[in-house]
C-alpha cells in the first residue's frame, strides 16, 4: 500500500482499477443517463425510458459485481479510497437486488389509477390550484428514478469506503437524494414535506457531527485512511482525547443512519411521511449500507480500541432493542409501527456488532463471525421489510393508503391471502422458525454469544418476546378483530404486476431463507472479514 504523499511533494497520477469499480460506475452512469432522459425525452416516454435505464444499470452492475466476486479479486483500490473485499461484494449484491425490488414498487401505476405514488408537482403548494392543474395535466415526477439511482451509488460507496473522506462523500451522496424523495408523496403531502424537512435537518446535523469526528480522528492519526488510523492506534502509547472524542462523534453520525437509540427520533416521522415505496427503499438499502459502514469503521479503523467502545455499544444495543420493541407496541399506524420495528432490528444487529466475534482464533473456519451474521440478518430483515411495505401500498381506503392499524381489522376475512402474506412477514420479524428472521436472529445471537456477550444475548432474547407482541398485535387485528360499526374499513386493491413481483420475492425469499438458508449463510460466511 503506497501511503499518500505529503502535500507539496509530487502528486502521483491516480491509478484507478476500473474493473473493480465498474459496478459503482455503472450505477452512476445510469443515474446521469436518467437525468438526460428527464431533460430530453418527451413526457409520455419518460416513465418507461427511466425504468429501462434504471433496470439496465442495476442488472449490469449486479452482473459485473457477481463476476468480480466469483473471480475472487479483492483489493484496496483507487489510491486506498475504496476497499473491494468480501463484505463489499456481498453488500453491493444485496444493495443492487433490494434497489431493484424497490424500483418494482416505484413502478406501480395501477393503484393510483394509472399514476405513480409520487406527487405530480412537488413545487406546488399542497391544495393549491397549481397542484390541481398538475394533477389534471397528469404530470409525473419521473426524476425519482435518477434520484434513487444516485442514492444507490452513495449506498454502494458508503460501506466500501476505506478512508473517512470517501465514507463522508458516500454518506452525503446517499442522503441528499433521499431528503428530496421523502417529500414527494402524492397524498398527505404536508406530512410528507414535514418528514423531508425533519430528515434533512437532523440528517445534516448528524453529517456535521460525523465531519467533526473525522477531523478529530485526523488530528490523532494524521491520516483519513482506516488502516492508517488502526496502525497509529497500535503505535500510540496513550489514548488521546482526540481519538476518543473523534470515535464518539463519528460513531454518532453512523448510529444516526442505522436508526439506533438515542439517535432514532427521525425514523418514525420520516418512515410515516415518506411515500411508501421510498420508505421501503430507505428501510432496506439505507440500513444495509449504514451497517456496512459502521462495521467497517469500528472493525478496521477502531478495532484496536474494542475495549473502549464495546461497553458503550452494548448499552446502545440494549436501549435500541428495548425502545424499538416497547414503543412499537403502542403504535396505531402501521408505517410508524414498522419504523419502530426497524429500530428494534437495528438493536438486534448491534448485538452482533458489539460482540466483535471474528473467525480465526481457534474457531472453525466456517463458523459465523459478527460480520457475516450481521450481513445475513440484514438480508433476512430486508426481504420481509420490502414485502411488508409493498403490501402497505396495496391496502387502501377511499383511494389512498390506509395505514391506521384499526382500519385493518378483519382484513383476514376480507382478503385472506394478503393478510396471510403480511402475517408471514410479521412472523419473520418476530423471529419464528421456518422464516428467514429466525435464522437471522439465531446467527446474530450466536455471534454475540461467541464474542463473550452471553448476558446481552439473554437480554436480547427476552426483548424478542416483547417485540413479538408488536407483530402479534397486527395478526390479531387482521384475523381476530371485527371492525367497529362506524369505523372506516380498508380494502385490498389489485396492484400491477410489478408490486406483485416484489411481494412474491418477499414471500419466496422469506421462506427460502428460513427453510434452506445454507447457501446465503455460506455466502455471508465466505465474505469473511474486511480487508485492511
Amino acid at each position: 500500500m503506497p501511503a499518500l504523499s505529503l502535500i507539496g511533494m509530487d502528486i502521483p497520477t491516480p491509478h484507478i482499477e476500473y474493473g473493480l469499480l465498474m459496478p459503482f460506475l455503472m450505477v452512476v452512469v445510469a443515474a446521469c443517463l436518467g437525468v438526460l432522459v428527464e431533460a430530453l425525452a418527451p413526457r409520455p416516454l419518460r416513465h418507461s425510458l427511466q425504468l429501462l435505464v434504471a433496470f439496465l444499470g442495476i442488472i449490469l452492475a449486479l452482473f459485473v459485481t457477481i463476476l468480480n466476486w466469483a473471480g475472487g479479486d479483492k483489493a484496496i483500490i483507487a489510491l486506498g479510497a475504496l476497499s473491494i473485499d468480501g463484505p463489499t461484494y456481498f453488500l453491493w449484491t444485496v444493495l443492487l437486488v433490494f434497489a431493484g425490488v424497490s424500483f418494482l414498487i416505484f413502478a406501480e401505476r395501477r393503484l393510483e389509477g394509472n399514476a405513480s405514488a409520487f406527487t405530480p408537482s412537488a413545487a406546488a403548494v399542497p391544495g393549491s390550484t397549481g397542484e390541481q392543474e398538475a394533477i389534471e395535466a397528469r404530470f409525473e415526477h419521473t426524476e425519482v428514478y435518477p434520484l434513487a439511482m444516485f442514492a444507490l451509488s452513495g449506498m454502494m460507496l458508503f460501506p466500501a469506503a476505506n478512508d473517512l473522506i470517501m465514507m463522508f462523500v458516500g454518506l452525503e451522496i446517499l442522503s441528499l437524494p433521499l431528503y428530496l424523495l421523502c417529500g414527494l408523496a402524492r397524498r398527505r403531502r404536508l406530512l410528507s414535506q414535514e418528514s423531508a424537512m425533519k430528515y434533512f435537518l437532523l440528517g445534516s446535523l448528524s453529517s456535521a457531527i460525523f465531519v467533526y469526528g473525522m477531523a478529530l480522528l485526523y488530528g490523532f492519526a494524521g491520516s483519513f485512511d482506516l488502516s492508517a488510523i488502526s496502525d497509529s492506534l497500535q503505535s500510540s502509547t496513550q489514548k488521546d482525547g482526540l481519538l476518543l472524542a473523534g470515535m464518539t462523534l463519528v460513531g454518532v453520525g453512523l448510529l444516526f443512519k442505522v436508526g439506533a437509540v438515542p439517535f432514532h427520533s427521525w425514523t418514525p416521522d420520516v418512515y410515516q411521511g415518506a411515500p411508501t415505496p421510498i420508505t421501503g427503499f430507505m428501510a432496506t438499502c439505507t440500513k444495509i449500507a449504514a451497517f456496512g459502514a459502521l462495521l467497517r469503521l469500528f472493525y478496521v479503523a477502531l478495532g484496536g480500541l474494542r475495549w473502549d467502545w464495546q461497553p458503550v455499544m452494548l448499552v446502545v444495543a440494549l436501549v435500541t432493542m428495548f425502545v424499538g420493541s416497547v414503543v412499537g407496541i403502542a403504535q396505531t399506524d402501521l408505517k410508524r409501527l414498522l419504523a419502530y420495528s426497524s429500530i428494534g432490528h437495528a438493536g438486534f444487529i448491534l448485538v452482533a456488532v458489539t460482540a466483535a466475534s471474528q473467525t480465526g482464533n481457534g474457531k472453525p473456519a466456517d463458523s459465523l463471525s459478527s460480520v457475516s451474521s450481521a450481513l445475513f440478518y440484514l438480508v433476512a430483515y430486508s426481504v420481509a421489510t420490502i414485502g411488508a411495505f409493498a403490501i402497505i401500498t396495496m391496502v387502501r381506503l377511499r383511494g389512498g393508503e390506509s395505514t391506521s392499524l384499526a382500519s385493518w381489522a378483519g382484513l383476514g376475512r376480507r382478503s385472506p391471502v394478503t393478510a396471510a402474506v403480511f402475517s408471514l412477514f410479521m412472523l419473520s420479524f418476530a423471529g419464528i422458525p421456518l422464516t428467514g428472521g429466525f435464522i437471522g436472529k439465531w446467527s446474530v445471537f450466536a455471534a454475540g454469544w461467541a464474542g463473550g456477550q452471553q448476558w446481552l444475548v439473554v437480554a436480547a432474547v427476552v426483548i424478542s418476546l416483547i417485540a413479538a407482541v408488536i407483530y402479534l398485535r397486527v395478526i390479531v387485528t387482521m384475523f381476530f378483530t371485527e371492525p367497529k360499526a362506524d369505523a372506516p374499513v380498508a380494502e385490498v386493491a389489485r396492484p400491477g404486476w410489478t408490486t406483485l413481483v416484489a411481494v412474491g420475492f418477499g414471500v419466496v425469499a422469506t421462506i427460502v431463507l428460513g427453510v434452506y438458508p445454507g447457501p446465503v449463510l455460506d455466502l455471508a460466511a465466505s465474505a469473511g472479514e474486511f480487508l485492511r
Binding site: 472453525p364 419464528i432 454469544w449 413479538a468 445454507g518
Partner: protein, 520 residues
C-alpha cells in the same frame, strides 16, 4: 433406505396444504383420508420397529445448515414411537369427532335459523388444515434427533394451535389464544438462548453439530451445563405445563373447541415431557440430578394443586384442563425419579393421558354441544336422557382417576412404585393426588349425569350419540381397555429405551429392593 419418517411427517402437512383447494365437506373428507393414511403408516412403522436394537431406528440424516451445524436428522426410539402412535391415532379421532364443529355456534352465542353460528368463524377447511398441521409438526418433533430441528418444530407448532384456539374457540378466544402464544413464545425464546449456547459449546470442540449423538459426547463444565439445563427446562415446563408455568392451559382449553383441546393437551403438551427425557436427561444428566429436588417438589405441587383446582372448577373444559396439570405432575415425577420403572411408567402415562383426555374432552364436548353451555351447573341427570353418552363420560372420568383395568392405572402405579423405591416421601405425598382424582372425576360425573334430569336437559338431550360420535369415542375407549389389561406391547417398546437413557446417560441404576432391616 426408504424415508419412512419423512413421509410420516410430511403426509399431514401436505394434507393441510391441500385445504387451500377444497372447501366444506370435501375438505373434511380429504383431511380424514390424509390422517387415516398417516395412521396406517405409523402402524407399519411400529411393526418394523425392533425392540431389541439400541439407538435410533429408521434413521435419516443429512447436513442441513452447515454454518450452524444443523442436520435434518430423524429417528425413532421407543419413547418417540409411543408418542407418534398416540398422535397418529388421536388426529383422525379428533377430525371425526369435530365433523360439524366448525359450523356450529359456541355456548352463549346467537344462532341463525339454520342452526349454524351467526358470527362466522373460519370454515371447516381451515379447521382441518390446522389440525393436520399440528399433527405433522408434532410427528416431526417426536422423531427429530437434531436439537436444532426439534427446536424448530417445538416452536412452530404453536402457530396452528394458536389459530385453532383463536379461529374457532369460545367468546374469549382472542385473549386465550394470545396468552397461549405468549407463554409458548417465552419458553421458546428462553430455549433459543440455551440452544445457541449449546451450539457455541459444540463449536468450541470442533465443527459445530446439533446432532443428539454428537452432543451427548460433549463435556460441559458444571456451570454451563446447569445454565443450559435451566434454559431447556423452563421451555419444557411451560409446554408440559408445570406449576408455576401452567396458567395458560386452563384458559386455552376452556376457550378451545373439544377437538382443539385434545390436540393441545393430548398431543402438543406431550412435547414438553417427551423433551425432558430426550434432551434434559440425555444432554444434561448431571444438571438433571442437581435439579431433581426442585423439579420433584414442583411436580408434587402440580399434582395436588391441579387436582384441587379441578375439584373447584365450574366449567367442564377448565376442569379437564386442571386434571391435565395434575397428570403432568405425575409424569414429571416419574421422569425425575430416575428409575426404569417410574420413567417407563411416565412414558406410558403420556400415552394414557392422551387417551383419557381425549375421551373426556370429546364426551364432554358432545354434552356441551347438546346443552349449549360449558357450566357444570347447567347439567344434571344426563344419564337418563342419553345413557351411552353419559356412560362414555363416566368411562373417561374413571380413566382419568386411574381405575384398575384402565391403562392409566398401570402407568400411575408404575410411576408411584418406581418413585417410592428412590424417594419414598415424594411418592407418599403424591398418592394424595389419587384420592383427589377420585373426587374431581366422580363429583363431575355426579353433578352432570346423575340425579333427576333438569328441564333444559330433557328438552335438549333428545338424541344419544350419533354414528360419527360413536365412531370417534368408542375406539378411544377400546384402546384404553385393551392397554389396561394387556400393556405389554407398548411397555416392551418403552422399557429398553428408558433403561438405556437412564443407565447410559444419567448413569444411575435402579435402587435394589431391600427387605426391612432389623425387623422392626
Amino acid at each position: 433406505m426408504f424415508p419412512w419418517l419423512t413421509i410420516l411427517g410430511l403426509l399431514p402437512l401436505i394434507g393441510g396444504l391441500a385445504m387451500i383447494f377444497v372447501r366444506g365437506t370435501a375438505a373434511k373428507q380429504v383431511g380424514l383420508a390424509f390422517s387415516l393414511v398417516t395412521l396406517v403408516l405409523a402402524i407399519i412403522v411400529a411393526f418394523t420397529y425392533n425392540t431389541g436394537t439400541k439407538g435410533f431406528q429408521l434413521a435419516e440424516q443429512a447436513t442441513w445448515i452447515k454454518a450452524i451445524g444443523a442436520h435434518y436428522a430423524l429417528g425413532l426410539d421407543g419413547i418417540g414411537l409411543t408418542l407418534v402412535l398416540l398422535t397418529a391415532f388421536l388426529t383422525p379421532v379428533v377430525l371425526i369427532a369435530s365433523w360439524n364443529d366448525p359450523d356450529l355456534p359456541k355456548p352463549g352465542e346467537p344462532v341463525s335459523p339454520d342452526g349454524t353460528a351467526v358470527t362466522h368463524r373460519w370454515g371447516a377447511h381451515a379447521f382441518v388444515g390446522l389440525i393436520l398441521a399440528t399433527e405433522g409438526f408434532a410427528l416431526f418433533a417426536f422423531t427429530a434427533t437434531d436439537v436444532f430441528l426439534f427446536y424448530l418444530f417445538f416452536e412452530v407448532i404453536l402457530f396452528p394451535m394458536y389459530f385453532l384456539i383463536g379461529g374457532f374457540g369460545g367468546a374469549r378466544r382472542a385473549y386465550a389464544a394470545g396468552k397461549f402464544l405468549l407463554f409458548g413464545l417465552f419458553g421458546g425464546f428462553v430455549m433459543l438462548a440455551a440452544v445457541i449456547g449449546l451450539g457455541i459449546v459444540s463449536a468450541q470442540h470442533g465443527a459445530p453439530s446439533y446432532l443428539l449423538t454428537d452432543l451427548t459426547q460433549l463435556h460441559l463444565s458444571t456451570n454451563v451445563e446447569r445454565w443450559l439445563f435451566v434454559g431447556f427446562m423452563i421451555a419444557f415446563a411451560i409446554k408440559a405445563p408445570m406449576v408455576p408455568f401452567h396458567t395458560w392451559l386452563p384458559d386455552s382449553v376452556e376457550q378451545s373447541t373439544p377437538g382443539g383441546a385434545v390436540m393441545l393437551a393430548g398431543v402438543m403438551d406431550k412435547l414438553g415431557t417427551f423433551a425432558m427425557i430426550r434432551f434434559c436427561l440425555q444432554l444434561f444428566p448431571d444438571a438433571s440430578k442437581w435439579a431433581t429436588p426442585v423439579v420433584m417438589v414442583l411436580a408434587i405441587i402440580s399434582i395436588i394443586y391441579g387436582a384441587l383446582m379441578a375439584i373447584g372448577s365450574k366449567d367442564l373444559h377448565r376442569l379437564i384442563g386442571w386434571t391435565s396439570v395434575s397428570h403432568f405432575g405425575f409424569i414429571v415425577l416419574g421422569i425425575f425419579a430416575f428409575t426404569t420403572q417410574s420413567a417407563s411408567g411416565a412414558t406410558f402415562y403420556m400415552l394414557n393421558h392422551g387417551l383419557s383426555t381425549a375421551a373426556l374432552f370429546l364426551a364432554a364436548g358432545f354434552m356441551i354441544k347438546r346443552r349449549g353451555s360449558r357450566d357444570i351447573s347447567d347439567f344434571g341427570g344426563v344419564v337418563k336422557a342419553t345413557p351411552l353418552l353419559a356412560g362414555l363420560l363416566l368411562f373417561g372420568a374413571l380413566s382419568a382417576l386411574a381405575l384398575p383395568g384402565m391403562s392409566s392405572f398401570i402407568s400411575e402405579f408404575m410411576v408411584l412404585a418406581g418413585t417410592f423405591s428412590r424417594h419414598p416421601i415424594y411418592a407418599v405425598v403424591a398418592t394424595i393426588g389419587i384420592v383427589l382424582a377420585a373426587l374431581y372425576a366422580l363429583i363431575m360425573y355426579q353433578r352432570t349425569a346423575t340425579g333427576v334430569p333438569t328441564a333444559a336437559v330433557t328438552e335438549k338431550f333428545t338424541v344419544d350419540l350419533s354414528g360419527k360420535e360413536r365412531l370417534a369415542l368408542i375406539p378411544v375407549a377400546l384402546v384404553i381397555l385393551v392397554l389396561g389389561f394387556f400393556p405389554k406391547p407398548i411397555l416392551s417398546i418403552i422399557n429398553p429405551t428408558v433403561s438405556d437413557t437412564l443407565t447410559q446417560h444419567v448413569g444411575l441404576t435402579d435402587p435394589q429392593p431391600h427387605a426391612s432391616e432389623g425387623g422392626r
